[in-house]
């Protein structure tokens, strides 16, 4: 190419610098600044920020609500992984290997909730759980189980488990499609060989399908962990605002309340640091446990 070195660098700078500046100002700087704020007592007015060293972290470790929020987050992570992975694996296998003519219909329908706004999903499910009008209680009454009806989101024991269903409902489609992508890449010859050896469908699933889609399963689980720890507070904020009596507060919704409702910005930032650290540790640990020899037949 006939280009002087200077022109080359100029073009490179044109491509990279403006974007990187924006990224630095609106992503990198706030992240590092958040870390910095976590050492301050600060209610918003810029002059009033007071350096207090590790006091926010001491408060974090003695705050009684914090362990509950962590537990709630991991409760959602675990139940979502179980619910989503079982259902989406079942659906993915059914739709790829059972010769179902109307498979595209299910694919299109199951995926749709993935692109619905969390606000819409949350409000829809608030009505489904509505004590007097909702589908859940009406259904239980219809089945003659009046004793089981309750104010699902207003009940301290049931509010958190009630949040799992909307998340699973909204998540299935994406993971089902990821797994279907993995399954359709498995060579048919494995199944034919297994067929000749007389392996049952169940054996084929455990010995062929599952090991060969393990990469997709692993990615799905990590993705559920990351999106839950980084985003579970959205559905919490829409559906329960952390209530009743903090029974559904997760780390992110607690951060929101401390920082943007009570104006404890320094302490809010400390909770943010905790979220960052916990999600990085969790991802690393999971990556270690799910590493598995790559299967090749």
């Amino acid at each position: 190419m006939v280009q002087s070195k200077k022109q080359r660098y100029l073009f490179l700078a044109f491509c990279l610098v403006p974007t990187f500046l924006m990224f630095s100002v609106f992503t990198l700087y706030p992240l590092f600044n958040g870390l910095y704020y976590s050492f301050f007592q600060w209610s918003g007015a810029s002059s009033a920020a007071e350096f207090i060293g590790l006091d926010n972290y001491r408060k974090l470790f003695s705050d009684e609500i914090i362990p509950a929020t962590i537990w709630h987050d991991y409760f959602l992570v675990i139940t979502k992984i179980i619910g989503i992975m079982i259902l989406s694996t079942f659906f993915a296998v059914a739709l790829t290997q059972m010769k179902i003519k109307e498979a595209p219909f299910y694919r299109i329908v199951f995926f749709f909730p993935n692109i619905m706004s969390v606000v819409v999903i949350g409000i829809l499910w608030m009505f489904i759980y509505n004590p007097s009008l909702g589908l859940v209680n009406s259904g239980l009454e219809f089945l003659g189980l009046e004793g089981w009806t309750k104010a699902w989101l207003g009940n301290e024991n049931w509010a958190l488990p009630s949040l799992v269903l909307p998340s699973v409902w909204a998540g299935i489609g994406l993971f089902m499609l990821m797994l279907m992508g993995g399954i359709s890449n498995i060579s048919k010859s494995y199944y034919e060989a297994a067929e000749i050896d007389g392996a049952t469908g169940w054996q084929q699933f455990w010995k062929i399908t599952l090991p060969l889609v393990w990469p997709q399963i692993k990615i799905s689980i990590l993705y559920i962990i990351i999106t839950t720890l980084n985003g579970s507070f959205i559905i919490v904020q829409v559906m329960t605002k952390g209530g009743p009596n903090n029974a559904t507060h997760v780390m992110g919704s607690y951060l929101y309340e401390e920082a943007f409702v009570k104006y404890n910005f320094g302490y809010g930032a400390t909770i943010g640091v905790m979220i960052l650290v916990l999600s990085l540790i969790t991802v690393l640990i999971m990556q270690y446990f799910m590493r598995r020899e790559k299967v090749e037949y």
Partner: protein, 279 residues
């Protein structure tokens, strides 16, 4: 598979599939039907068909709850945000994919790892940064924040798409004396159109649906995006019980997404599964 599938297997496997389809579709249809019911009817017959279709709820949402302003705000934020993302992401994606320079891998890794970092921590300083820039409680400020937040995903999809374009066309254009700027604008951008459209649809859906950043960075009602307006109506509904109006506003929010999904179903699915597979 050659194994004969018995009738019972065929039926048995369809039961969960049909049940899940109902679980997905029924609430959505029911929400749409509810938007056409009067409040009295929602109470007397919450899960059935409406007796007569009435648009009263839509008028109520539109005029009494100022949904019109929120729709307008959401359109601005969505359109501007998506455009801004492209302006920032296309040149960077091109440089990362095609140009050799020191730190190329490092920069790429930096952008991609930002997809896995919880941004909640950054939202507190961002709040004050926007305040200093006079962009707090401002839909243009929100559009900028949205655009930057989708940069990593957009760069990721665009670089992997640009990697599939043959280099020969760029080389031919360079031999013809085209400047690199013109090559980027006249050759690479049109050739990447499929990737650009995928990224843009994904970003638009994301921005249209987004709730939490809007909740933090917008304050006055006249700046509310649709998600905030709906949340506001939802909170009011606890006292007013005007469920019909709430459903009408949910329908207004979901219809554009349904339309986009109907047209671009394949692209959306591809974009989302690929975006997730970056692991």
């Amino acid at each position: 598979m050659k194994r004969e599938q018995g009738l019972w297997t065929k039926i048995g496997v369809r039961i969960p599939l049909v049940l899940w389809s109902l679980a997905v579709l029924y609430p959505i249809f029911w929400m749409i039907l509810g938007a056409f019911k009067s409040n009295a009817e929602i109470y007397s017959n919450p899960w059935g068909l409406p007796e007569s279709f009435s648009f009263a709820n839509f008028f109520d949402a539109w005029s009494n709850y100022n949904i019109d302003i929120s729709v307008f705000n959401s359109l601005i934020v969505t359109g501007l945000g998506a455009l801004l993302t492209l302006v920032m992401a296309i040149p960077t994606a091109y440089a990362l994919e095609r140009l050799r320079f020191r730190g190329n891998r490092l920069l790429f890794t930096l952008y991609i790892s930002a997809m896995m970092i919880p941004m909640v921590l950054g939202w507190i300083p961002l709040f004050f940064l926007l305040m200093q820039l006079n962009l707090l409680d401002n839909i243009f400020g929100l559009a900028i924040v949205y655009a930057v937040s989708q940069l990593p995903f957009s760069i990721f999809v665009l670089t992997s798409f640009m990697a599939t374009i043959p280099k020969s066309l760029e080389e031919a254009a360079a031999i013809d004396g085209m400047s690199p700027y013109m090559i980027l604008w006249k050759v690479v951008t049109p050739l990447s159109m499929t990737g650009i459209i995928t990224v843009t649809i994904m970003n638009m859906i994301q921005f249209w649906n987004e709730y939490f950043m809007a909740l933090i960075f917008l304050q006055s009602e006249e700046n509310y995006t649709l998600a905030l307006a709906i949340d506001y109506i939802s909170n009011e509904t606890q006292y007013t019980n005007s469920w019909g109006t709430l459903f009408a506003s949910l329908v207004i929010a979901i219809v554009p997404v349904i339309i986009l999904y109907a047209i671009f179903q394949r692209r959306i699915v591809k974009g989302m599964t690929e975006g997730a597979i970056k692991g």
